[in-house]
Chain length 277, copies 2
């Protein structure tokens, strides 16, 4: 059984821990078959091959355990999404492992698959939020209202964007730790206004509107010390014609919305490169 | 010049200080003509007739001042919206005064009208938020992104609801004072999920969905001491078949969404009456 799981943009502007967008690429490809032993083989980006440390195999093991099935498996992973990129690399592996195993066993209970995938994600980031798993599973643009019970709203907007990934890594765990437990009520109100306007703009296919509604007051301001180049790259994108720019997940990847995506991407890459000197 | 301004539901579930819904009735009717003196006459619900204490005349005076026009006026107000009801009574008077004067002077600059109306609202509640003025002016369902510069998104959903108004008053000022300056980030996230899902449900004319997305974690929990009957009336409405229930503005009015609105309203009225015994 072979599945292919795409990269995703979690948070997406003002939708911290709520909004997610499924991308077309890059992807993780995971192949699994039942076996007497447990063996994991990884190609492309390097991640652990020990079954208890590999996210995809932990998810697959978790699904077997939930179902009370005792079996080993051989798993082949083509890790196409760079770990620590902010593009949902661990979420894709976690979902891929659970999904491949579920398909092999002819199971399509989404809640079960998500539950198993969350176990896999937990070993990667300490906490499991599902904010990458959900858009990867549902596709399109997702609003995660609740994980348990599972309540997800989905839209399928026509949205083109450019994603730029610099050669640095951000620890998801660290990016969680810098967030405050309490935030100003006024900032919560600002994000509610932005997030709900953004849903309306998406629904009306107003690409410019979506771009102009990407501000965030709840997570990115506190993460600035981890992403010192954020303002510079954002400025370069806006000067390059972008309608709006934001961080993908907890970064370092950033994305921009606009018309001339090639030029915007180039301007962002140049800003990253200057910063790297 | 005569204008009629409707009652409004501010906050609307998870959209504290952001969402507003324009109702068909009740309404304030305000008539104004230029005059050598300044005189205000009020019918129906009783509010001050002193020009510097009457919300509508303060708004009208404020518009004249902004425009640099020195003139008096005669104003007749039919105050159809009960003050302290949570139905945007002061917002309607504030908008009505500014709007009637603007029409008399052949001005239709929305930002100017809102600016003058906010001055009127300020004398009522200490602070001016515009969360009733905006839906009353724009009609339909409004998402207030920013007052200055004015950025409002409007939807025109087909939405029927029942509003129940008990014979108590809530001070808007007090209802503001009980709110915390800081709120848990997790509550902000919950409201973002609810508010953005609600916009999607409205856009898709999913009345049941809208009803089920009215929870709020940012304002109502802190206002509970001012509205001790809230849970009881809410429960009665849900048991009466409502999809969802919430507070209108800072109360005491409550509204419910459902099919059999007459029965739901009756159940809510009965719960209010039991509480009043």
């Amino acid at each position: 059984m072979k599945v292919s799981v795409p990269a995703t943009i979690a948070n997406f502007g003002p939708g911290f821990d709520v909004f997610g967008l499924c991308l077309e690429k890059p992807r993780d490809v995971i192949e699994v078959e039942l076996s007497g032993e447990i063996r994991v083989e990884v190609k492309a980006y390097s991640v652990p091959e020990e079954p208890e440390k590999n996210i995809a195999s932990v998810s697959a093991l978790s699904l077997l355990k939930i179902l009370g099935i005792e079996s080993g498996f051989k798993m082949k992973i083509k890790k196409g999404i760079r770990p620590g990129s902010g593009l949902g690399s661990s979420g894709a592996s976690a979902l891929g492992g659970a999904l491949a195993m579920a398909k092999l066993l002819d199971i399509d209970d989404r809640e079960l698959i998500i539950k198993a995938a969350l176990e896999g994600e937990r070993i990667a980031s300490g906490e499991a939020h599902g904010d990458n798993i959900i858009p990867a599973l549902f596709g399109g643009f997702t609003i995660l209202k609740s994980l348990s019970p599972l309540e997800v709203f989905k839209m399928s907007p026509k949205l083109k964007l450019v994603v730029v990934l610099p050669d640095v890594e951000i620890s998801t765990r660290r990016a969680r730790q810098v967030l405050p437990k309490y935030v100003p009520l006024s900032d919560a109100v600002r994000n509610i206004a932005l997030a709900s306007s953004l849903v309306l703009a998406l629904k009306e296919n107003d690409v410019k509107g979506v771009g102009q509604l990407l501000d965030d007051h709840l997570a990115i301001p506190y993460r600035k010390p981890l992403i010192p180049w954020f303002d510079k790259v954002r400025k370069a994108a806006l000067e390059g014609g972008a309608y709006g720019v934001s961080l993908s997940g907890s970064g370092p990847a950033m994305f921009a919305i606009g018309e001339n995506l090639k030029d915007i991407g180039k301007a962002m890459v140049e800003a990253f490169e200057e910063e790297g000197d």
